[in-house]
Subunit: 246 residues, 8 copies
Amino acid sequence: MKAIEILKSVQNGETTAEEAMLKLRMQPFEELGYATVDHHRQLRTGIAEVIYGEGKTAEQISGIATSMLNNKQSVILITRMSKKIAEAVKKDHPQMTYHELARVGIIGEIPKPDGIGYVVVATGGTTDLPVAEEAALTAEALGNEVVRLYDVGVAGLHRLLAKLDVVMGARCVVAVAGMEGALPSVMGGLVDCPVIAVPVNCGYGASFNGLSALLTMLNSCASGVCVMNIDNGFGGGYLASMINHQ
Amino acid sequence: MKAIEILKSVQNGETTAEEAMLKLRMQPFEELGYATVDHHRQLRTGIAEVIYGEGKTAEQISGIATSMLNNKQSVILITRMSKKIAEAVKKDHPQMTYHELARVGIIGEIPKPDGIGYVVVATGGTTDLPVAEEAALTAEALGNEVVRLYDVGVAGLHRLLAKLDVVMGARCVVAVAGMEGALPSVMGGLVDCPVIAVPVNCGYGASFNGLSALLTMLNSCASGVCVMNIDNGFGGGYLASMINHQ
Amino acid sequence: MKAIEILKSVQNGETTAEEAMLKLRMQPFEELGYATVDHHRQLRTGIAEVIYGEGKTAEQISGIATSMLNNKQSVILITRMSKKIAEAVKKDHPQMTYHELARVGIIGEIPKPDGIGYVVVATGGTTDLPVAEEAALTAEALGNEVVRLYDVGVAGLHRLLAKLDVVMGARCVVAVAGMEGALPSVMGGLVDCPVIAVPVNCGYGASFNGLSALLTMLNSCASGVCVMNIDNGFGGGYLASMINHQ
Amino acid sequence: MKAIEILKSVQNGETTAEEAMLKLRMQPFEELGYATVDHHRQLRTGIAEVIYGEGKTAEQISGIATSMLNNKQSVILITRMSKKIAEAVKKDHPQMTYHELARVGIIGEIPKPDGIGYVVVATGGTTDLPVAEEAALTAEALGNEVVRLYDVGVAGLHRLLAKLDVVMGARCVVAVAGMEGALPSVMGGLVDCPVIAVPVNCGYGASFNGLSALLTMLNSCASGVCVMNIDNGFGGGYLASMINHQ
Amino acid sequence: MKAIEILKSVQNGETTAEEAMLKLRMQPFEELGYATVDHHRQLRTGIAEVIYGEGKTAEQISGIATSMLNNKQSVILITRMSKKIAEAVKKDHPQMTYHELARVGIIGEIPKPDGIGYVVVATGGTTDLPVAEEAALTAEALGNEVVRLYDVGVAGLHRLLAKLDVVMGARCVVAVAGMEGALPSVMGGLVDCPVIAVPVNCGYGASFNGLSALLTMLNSCASGVCVMNIDNGFGGGYLASMINHQ
Amino acid sequence: MKAIEILKSVQNGETTAEEAMLKLRMQPFEELGYATVDHHRQLRTGIAEVIYGEGKTAEQISGIATSMLNNKQSVILITRMSKKIAEAVKKDHPQMTYHELARVGIIGEIPKPDGIGYVVVATGGTTDLPVAEEAALTAEALGNEVVRLYDVGVAGLHRLLAKLDVVMGARCVVAVAGMEGALPSVMGGLVDCPVIAVPVNCGYGASFNGLSALLTMLNSCASGVCVMNIDNGFGGGYLASMINHQ
Amino acid sequence: MKAIEILKSVQNGETTAEEAMLKLRMQPFEELGYATVDHHRQLRTGIAEVIYGEGKTAEQISGIATSMLNNKQSVILITRMSKKIAEAVKKDHPQMTYHELARVGIIGEIPKPDGIGYVVVATGGTTDLPVAEEAALTAEALGNEVVRLYDVGVAGLHRLLAKLDVVMGARCVVAVAGMEGALPSVMGGLVDCPVIAVPVNCGYGASFNGLSALLTMLNSCASGVCVMNIDNGFGGGYLASMINHQ
Amino acid sequence: MKAIEILKSVQNGETTAEEAMLKLRMQPFEELGYATVDHHRQLRTGIAEVIYGEGKTAEQISGIATSMLNNKQSVILITRMSKKIAEAVKKDHPQMTYHELARVGIIGEIPKPDGIGYVVVATGGTTDLPVAEEAALTAEALGNEVVRLYDVGVAGLHRLLAKLDVVMGARCVVAVAGMEGALPSVMGGLVDCPVIAVPVNCGYGASFNGLSALLTMLNSCASGVCVMNIDNGFGGGYLASMINHQ
């Protein structure tokens, strides 16, 4: 059964709204061959669609985006897209803006913030910026006001303390850090809102490609801290938006 | 300067409310020798105080609890407390209820739920119950309605699908699972709210004491999933409450 | 003693068939210098010969293939062969077809399926395709009907459930997945046939080059699931064919 | 809808047999509180039900078994059950036989072998016996003839070669080994049937609790070898039975 | 040649002081059978002798101590000694004081502090106390004034900031922490003296027996931080003393 | 409040020197956008500023250096800077000297040694030289006399013993080693001063990118040995300077 | 064919000695049920038989030993046998001597040394003694003169250097060490004979149960060093004897 | 004191030969700046000198070789040297032969075999050849007859069994294998001489860069097997030569 048929059966009184909602959530999608584009996802999750660019060709990204636009998607976020591929995609989608540091492309206009409060994206150092920008742009594309606090790592505590009021007013904090990864713990002790910890693959030696920061964050003594995969800035921004819109 | 002095100086017009809030958040605490009990934490984080029982003697737990009660704490949650220690603590605090499976003690009355919606705590199997109960009791002690969905692991999908409506109505899901740890991924694809994944140390061999489930959860393809430390049911319940109260 | 001598001694009544079978299985092979080509392997294992292309030069691959063709091998499967090497091999063996995504070359005609049922090759996402195609082509080269179900990962369960009848009719399932690697567990709960789980090296961070998916699969709660090495699509297809031909 | 209703609707011609089969596979189960006993599993997977005893009390095991017997289950296999718990379970189920080495209990009569051929269960050394016996008893409880070949490890090759004819006639081999774990590789080179490799947690030092054997098996150069979790004798026996009954 | 002979040859003018110093450093020791007691170590390293108690019997500890006392050692520190063994050793050496929390015994009087400044020993939480006390007692036995700052972890920053003046006046800091292990990083950013980081095996799950804290400390962004083995409180106190006496 | 205002308030008698020192240490810094340059760090830690070059562009390094020079920094050390980037930086800062082996640039004149003694930097082999030179140049830039002892590894003990007098006269030893990493242990047994162990990522196979040497050093039986991150020559030189200037 | 028949066929001239040797090596053994006792192993490997006691009951050990004695084995070495089990075995085999530290039992007389030179067994510390004694007793039981050099670890180099002449005269060195495990490297640089490195599971924290010492030894810069499994004293003594008897 | 002076003092009767030997072994070497060339090593270890080429420039290799030739070294082995560097070295040392597969260069004539027997170098597969050739060439350069048995892995046992007589006659076996690494175990069960196991970094996925093969070999059940670092063909050949010359 197609989505329209489901909705008509509600109109006819054959199906209750509740049943229809369940059916809609479980059912419609379209097969393109190389990927199952999920057009009802916006209905299902209430937000813009995302294309995970890693390992996809420019043709694949363009094709998926076109299919989405045809289905009335207004904002499309493309993550993990190299500059070279972005330039190729731009030929088909000239309206796309590309953010090189974050390796993120956005098709469509960034919506006005409609969240309850604002989201803080903080980093320990400057090498954490690409991941932090992926988080910040994701949150912005999903309708959030974002305050960036970069290079406020715990080895120079005064830099963070100087911004204490901004931190404390946030509705959700995304704390991005590599090396020793202690920023989320310190932040979790300062704020009353959820802290989403994103470990970063930077440093060298015993950082073991971000494993050290990941373990630090999982062991945080502060309550209210949860952890994303290493370098998963998108995931951090997405979850922050979810919390800021509930 | 003590808390009362800070507040008086606001009354006198010497300090603005904003400054006072900052001062209060950063300042008062009391030293007991073996632990710094943080009486203004309720002010700071808005919820009940928690005693992490692991490695503490009955005397230490009792002493900290007494100090808290003297400071007007109404609900005290004690986690990771063995039955034997609980019995010793009960002599000083007979009003404590003890939950053996979760190894949790609660002093004071569980408050009426005052969250926005309800929290689902789900498990993959029966061996995940102790961790799930720690999460559920924590959430209840912090004022949340909790719906338990136990033994709905992904190797028998029909069990989870039969509860689809309950899952979809939740404001936050705590998904507790050991072994392959796939429950949070499946749930993250079904719901629109945050899914807090708690890996469990169970199974044998290549489960490597919960490491397998932890890695599975960190690699979840579903958006909106974040991860706690292995066996950290308390952390999952605490964060769920935070999200449900915002 | 050579194979023909063994067989003659059976003819003469000097050796029983059982003894001869044992002798044949243990004995004949030929030395090329850089590899021991095993011409009686077809006799031994009843199927086509395979050349593992990794680390071999075009000359070596061509030479081994020629030796096999001289020994009446009708189908030769070459795995892990780059496009560049394939082009060089094609000069000696123009009848070879090359599948770039799977990095597989096939010399000789794909035989008609003679298995008992069909084999399902399923993937969680689009990045799993190269490994899945290696599995599917291997199974086809060994005489199996293959049904491909790609991009049916557990974070969007409806995609898999929509194909439930196809999955349930399979004689063997090869479930290929990276990231959280939960597909084999879900499939193992749905079908009555063996599920061969193949973890894929994709993703980033805590996927640790496929280790996360490998551990997930080893810890599967579903019965009837067994596991191959990371990225071992060939092994999955080979075993599936073995099971489908018994 | 209940199972009987589904079947009646087939009788009435309202539902086709195929639809009904799908519905039955996805639907009925019963909640006991601590575990979802799955009474239609026999229908679903065609074999006896299994209780995973690890971490369950004697009361829980007894209760689940009683519920199964009430639902006409004829053979119940209980794995990972200590001698002490087995003695307690026996009070409720005196017909249970208990195998101490394998820590396995069986309620009901072992069925006559109805598989196509026989299953070989082989071990590298004597310390692998508990896991091997778990595999062998599981296969027997599921209706398979089992040939045991114990202590035929690769460091004394003549012991294995002396049994070559038995090994070669098997329909499926379960190769159980700890330490260097090389037995499945050697067997995979000798036979034409699937080899299910089960690594064992034994040895010391760099065996790292079975990790060494697990990695050896995953890296096997022999085709047709697949791997189970460390110490998962049950899984090996179950999959062998599945292959032997197709 | 014995030590006295070396010194006499200096007196005679046959050997220069420099040569003699070298000879003395390399030469004398005595064999007891189970351990080579090194009586000139005091000369060599300028401080009291230490007995590492782990795995030694009460008889062995007593014997080594007696041999040391016979060689005019005035202070003997015994680490990693259980209460039970300490009681047995006390029969031979009643003048020994035993510190149960730190599992340390001291024979002889603690010397007056003769270091240049004072040493701060700080911990993140209360579970770090045994390791911290081992460090503090070691430093005291070696002639240092020690200031203890316990339970000042980074998840409650105000507790550490309240002691800022004490921390900043130290000549060396031993920062002891488990879980996320972020204390040394924060301290390294506050002080100008060396910070010796000692990771602690506490916590659970992804703390991996102190590995998480160890990695955090090795990756510290703060300059002037160096790291000891997990739980090596003795090593931290010893090095702190060395720095405080130079 | 700015630094100058703080100092004036001391002049006015409004603030004591002690209070002012604390305020100064916690407060002033400047935001450049991509990095928080910390101009009072010299005041705070008493030594030259360091730019960690890894992952920074030539423009970023030049900009930070210019900002530092404008704030009267006399010596600037730039670590982990490739030759290519160094050449670009030299256009803006022609007075910079570049040390290719160590990948270190120094702007400003190396100060005369003003430490108490000298620092020994020793290596086990020739592949450890880049890390050792980073350590040695750092120490020299911070005002230390450095004695280099290269290629004195423990597999040829006579090379180290021939330099015994130099080693024994040091105030601090930085022992740099890869492979088995045993040099710090041997040195720790020979000297009375702190030994800073720096593991090196060299070798192959089971060296696991320096992990082997790191573990060796953490497990050193010699007292007075502490450990830095793998390849952290800068950290070793910095800490050595701190100890040599106390 | 039995061994005696093979030998008779040589007598008859039907078989050459070379063929018979091969047949004998590959063929005879006897099945006891729980273990395949290999009576021709003495013929095969030229030395006494060994029983690996770990995980075997007293009955099993006694039974195997009796079977060996019946087959004219003159010396039997039993390793990894607890005191309790040894006492039970002694009832059947009162002539057995038991070495508690090494957990080794020996039935039969230790043969006179018939090796070419002597074997040195050296340890880094006193906690390495159980493993070293297992090595030394094994070598003695196999007919070697053994020189023990205990507690000569590299953190006190003078202890080893004092024994230089003994070390340099050895035909083979077994170097047993835990913690940093540097002893084999230092020895490998001093001697011209093979050095067999045996890592020991001792220490704590980052020793990771002997992994640290194992890695150190595998990375040894000294030529002529080979490595055994952690705690494998038997293997070290066995190989040393093999080298000393060639 | 120089070497010549030591020898003269023997001539004069001032020093005994034994003392002189010790002095010579500990003392003379020469500093080139980038490496301590050890000219008395031939005296010390009785064999040719080796240059480890990894990470060295052509100039460094040439310089060291020239210095050695000046000191009358007749055979120089250079390992881990790329083709490009070899060509540069050849300009200075045209008499060098270069073996590309093994990446080994040899200056001087390979000596006639003067060992007691012959050395077998065996591999499991063709990808193990570079490491095996490094071992074989090393052994040949040190005066050993070498028999190569390549591609005789355990997944095709008949290939190894066909060479049984050659294997059994060896004085020492170097068994080189990647993937599952089972070859040394099987060989250890067949021969009476030492088996030197060399794990190889080949394969993919769970081979973890040779770790899997390394662990397999360390856990070998066969006595007389010892292990080298991953890819350490040189070490294997060196030790084999040592054993073959004793």
